[in-house]
Amino acid sequence: MIELLAKYNYWIVIILLTTGLYGVMARQNLIKKIIGLNVFQTAVLLFYVSMSKIEGGTAPILINHGHGPQPLFDNPLPQVLMLTAIVVGISTTAVALTFVTLIHREYGTIEEDQILELNKHND
């Protein structure tokens, strides 16, 4: 049981990943798809950050100017990688929302099934 408990963050990540992936694939509304995509990406971010935490470790900020014994620090590298991933996530969302605006202007709707029908009309 303790074995199971010690890894609870992985189960949270897995549930969120599955929800996000299901949302991306199953939802017809284009905006709902992007929200599913964001949930999917934030789950991976949570996976990285929960990797960096150490029992009894503090935030990786050196004390008294870096000299002398330092307390136990968490692992800073995953946090750096996640700063990049968050910014990449917001850029992709912004471009995706631009496409939604333009699709709405051209097709008048943002439901995927109606868009496919309209495409079939004049293909």
Binding site: K7, Y8, Y10, I12, I15, L16, L17, T18, T19, G20, Y22, Q28, N29, I31, K32, I34, I35, G36, N38, V39, T42, A43, L45, L46, V49, S50, E55, G57, A59, P60, I61, L62, H65, F73, N75, P76, P78, Q79, M82, L83, T84, I86, V87, V88, I90, S91, T93, A94, V95, L97, T98, T101, H104, R105, E106, G108, T109, I110, E117, H121
Partner: protein, 347 residues
């Protein structure tokens, strides 16, 4: 047990975001979800990431979603049904993940590979001597892996330029249809048989009535928000903070200003042309410092060679690139907002 409270709340929010029918509520639940994610990261001592997630995840993306939702007028989703193939694929991925976590190391365990392998201890020791940064995350972000951050800033600048490329429409030449100008053929009238009615243009809620309370409060608050933004940019080396978080806060202050005082007022403060220049100049500053390091004989982005004393040189170099990142991110956040809201308002 308290460690489990917030993750469970996250799971509930994550599932609720996709199950709730109404679009507006799912966006609201999503912003709560990213805020709770930021709080969870605070508890996991990842403070830099938490600030960025709160500023970008909860702040800017919710604003973007709401603006786009306002534009596309779609309130409710169509028919709701469980999509079996999608469910199977998602569960398949979950099964592979579960298979993978069987022999992953325990959480919070100090002697797993990332902490014992030579890379992270090296960063912790050399962060102050070489990079002069107390905040190790900032020193890795800016110096040890500074090349990654250069491309991170380029991704942000690309998003800004993509929006300008796709959305910006030269001011209305008389008679030409809106979509003709952006090079995309349009047939506005979608056939009635599909039951889709073309929607009215975006209601002009942006021309503010003269609401005294709103204006005075904003006048009072904006200087402090901008001061705080600059503080976060410059404070990157001592405590949590850095180019991204500070840049977003600066960008948000201009967005609030344009929301409350209207576009023409905001354009007087920050014209569209200077905003485009700022987006480029931030990345140029970052890349330029790298090229200067080349001329001084070091490798690309090697700040140590900029000045005789390597530690002070790297402090100056890192400060330079943080300011570059801050400028670009602030300008791009403003572009994201200006371009999406401004399609119908004339240029």
């Amino acid at each position: 047990m308290t460690d489990l409270a917030i993750p469970l709340f996250l799971v509930v929010c994550g599932i609720a975001v996709l199950l709730v029918k109404d679009l507006m509520s799912s966006i609201m639940i999503f912003s709560v979800y990213s805020l709770m994610m930021a709080i969870e990261w605070c508890r996991l001592n990842a403070v830099d990431v938490a600030i960025t997630e709160a500023a970008v995840g909860a702040g800017i993306s919710t604003v973007l979603f709401l603006v786009i939702l306002g534009r596309t007028k779609s309130v409710d989703e169509g028919k709701k049904h469980i999509n079996i193939p999608a469910l199977l694929v998602a569960l398949g991925v979950a099964a592979v993940l579960l298979y993978g976590t069987m022999d992953l190391p325990h959480l919070r365990d100090p002697n797993i590979a990332p902490n014992t392998h030579v890379v992270t201890p090296y960063y912790l020791e050399n962060s102050y001597e070489h990079a002069g940064q107390l905040n190790v995350v900032a020193s890795i972000l800016a110096y040890f892996r500074g090349y990654d951050t250069l491309f991170e800033t380029t991704v942000v600048a690309t998003a800004g330029f993509c929006l300008i490329l796709l959305l910006r429409v030269r001011n209305k030449k008389p008679g030409t249809l809106d979509s003709q100008k952006i090079g995309v053929t349009a047939n506005k009238k979608t056939p009635a048989s599909i039951g889709v009615k073309p929607t009215a243009t975006f209601p002009d809620v942006l021309d503010q009535d003269k609401d005294i309370i709103k204006r005075t409060v904003t006048k009072l608050l904006i200087p402090f928000i901008q001061l705080f933004g600059l503080y976060v940019i410059v404070h990157g080396e001592l405590g949590p903070g850095g180019g991204f978080q500070g840049g977003v806060i600066l960008g948000v202050s201009i967005i609030v200003y344009s929301l409350v005082f209207g576009f023409d007022e905001a354009k007087k403060r920050m014209s569209v042309k200077t905003k485009d220049l700022l987006v480029s100049s931030g990345v140029l500053l970052y890349g330029g410092i790298g090229v200067i390091a080349l001329f001084m004989g070091g490798n690309y982005l090697q700040y140590g060679v900029l000045l005789p004393d390597p530690q002070f040189a790297s402090v100056v170099g890192i400060m330079g690139i943080e300011i570059g990142v801050g400028i670009t991110v602030a300008a791009v956040m403003m572009t994201l907002f200006y371009e999406t809201v401004r399609i119908d308002a004339n240029d």
